[in-house]
């Protein structure tokens, strides 16, 4: 009877021991890793770098929690699993943010292209009204050339945008707008001076 009791205790101990030895949450790790890769492929590291970096840091923390659990007599991956679940969810959010940023950039660039085109046309109209005297001679040819550069940039930006270079095309069109605006100011000032004479 006693020996049966001892056996029962040992068996119970064994069950407790083995039930405490959880398996490494490999499926969750793989899922989180794949989710991060997907987010990176979507361009999160370029379009929402802070969000992407936070995600990478969380994944590192999750890996640390996995290893911290593994080093124990009776590993428990509950905390690691929670972090991995958070990473997977955060990756979904990061992807959504990336796509939203892309749309935002694309819309902004498209709007700026329209604005620059309108400015170029406006400047062409102002060129016709610009003074033709000595002061005009100094400026007109250069302004025409500047306008040509702005027009070329618009074409370059449209190509870059079509090729998916959202960041490059955005900064280029901003520079083109700055140029077109400065030309407009220059022309308006010259015309105003002419009016005063």
């Amino acid at each position: 009877m006693k020996s049966k009791l001892v056996l029962a205790i040992v068996a119970l101990g064994g069950v407790v021991l083995f039930s405490s030895c959880q398996k490494v949450p490999q499926a969750e790790i793989d899922a989180a890793t794949a989710a991060i890769q997907e987010v990176k492929d979507a361009g999160a590291d370029q379009y929402v770098p802070e969000v992407y970096q936070a995600l990478v840091d969380s994944m590192k923390a999750a890996n640390e929690k996995v290893e911290a659990a593994k080093q124990k007599w009776f590993p428990s991956y509950t905390k690691a699993k929670a972090t991995l679940a958070y990473v997977s969810q955060a990756a979904v959010d990061a992807k959504a943010k990336t796509e939203a940023r892309k749309v935002e950039l694309k819309n902004e660039t498209t709007q700026l292209i329209g604005e620059v085109k309108a400015l170029v046309e406006e400047n062409k109209g102002l060129l016709a009204k610009a003074p033709r005297g000595k002061e005009g001679r100094e400026a007109l040819e250069a302004i025409k050339s500047d306008l040509a550069v702005a027009e070329t940039t618009v074409t370059e930006v449209e190509t870059a945008l079509a090729n998916g270079d959202l960041l490059g095309s955005n900064s280029k069109i901003k520079a083109a707008k700055e140029k077109a605006t400065s030309i407009k100011t220059e022309l308006e000032e010259a015309i105003a001076k002419k009016g005063k004479k």
Partner: protein, 375 residues
Amino acid sequence: MGLNKKKFKWISIILLSFVFIVITVCVIIVSQKKLPNDDLKNAREALSEAKEAEADVYSETKYKQALRIYESAMTGWSRENERFILVRDYSGIISSALKAKKIADDAKEESIEKSAALSKNVESAFVSLEKKIDLYNKLFKNLPIPKSVFDAHNKSKMLFSESKIAQQNGKLKEADILFKKAEIYTNHANNSAAKMLRDYFTDYSKWRALANDAIAASRGGGKVILVDKVAHILYIYQSGKILRSYDVEFGPNWMAHKERAGDRATPEGNYHIVNKKAGGGTTYYKAMLLDYPNSEDRAEFARKKQQGLISRRTGIGNLIEIHGNGGRGFDWTSGCIGMRDRDIDDLYRLVGSGTRVTIVGSVEPLATVTQGLDF
């Protein structure tokens, strides 16, 4: 039987005690081992802070080294965890984690220093480039600059704008790269234009002598026309003084001495009005034909032709006039001197055939033309 029971009891007690002692010793051994958890966490946080300080951009080598060490420590930790619990050794991992943290901290510090220095450099470089672009606009903008130089200047302005946008967005390294490209184009444009201007002014002493001679000739009371190409001004001198001055326009290649037909350059030297045209005599409202080419032009043309510098089929050109239809705001003629109609009316009335017309590159020296600006 009673003995056996007693024996079994004792054996059980001894065995259980042994197991208890072994487990206790194992727990003590394991609990005495220093674990790498905190050190790796600290290393990761240091790396994160370094990244936030853009160490991956400004202290790339150190940051990458720290990251590599951290990742290798993580791999080592995982490997060590696969071993039997009592023989695991985390000392190497801890030391790697500490090293990774230290390097990440260094990278962060270096990054902050470098980005601050770069920010300062970029700002002062922006000021310097802005000055160069201003210089171009002041000195070279109205010169007949070759298209490649003009394009380089425009390209530089575009890149400069992009660089400024990158700087505003805190992307200093990108701003620096764009700025350096802009600087290359600016330097090319400014240096080419400056060389062109300096080369042109090598004839200045000759121009000055021609201008002095023309002014001296007017002292007799007759009218003399002096044309300053750089200033784009036509003066009428009488008795050594300026009687009138008018804005004029030339051909697109005005910054050269005319030497052949079709070069759209305006000749430099002493000429005379040989014919006055009005009404149906000219398509340019009113015109005064000059006696280009003069004897010097012919001699120079012959010399260059002989040297093979001018094609045998090319002529020296003619029909250089002072005419109307000007005031267009740019250099548009084929080498003639274009004036506003109201100005040519005035000139037409004031001067007659035989009037001396001296055309020079510039009456003023280069230093005056460039307003003393250092280029």
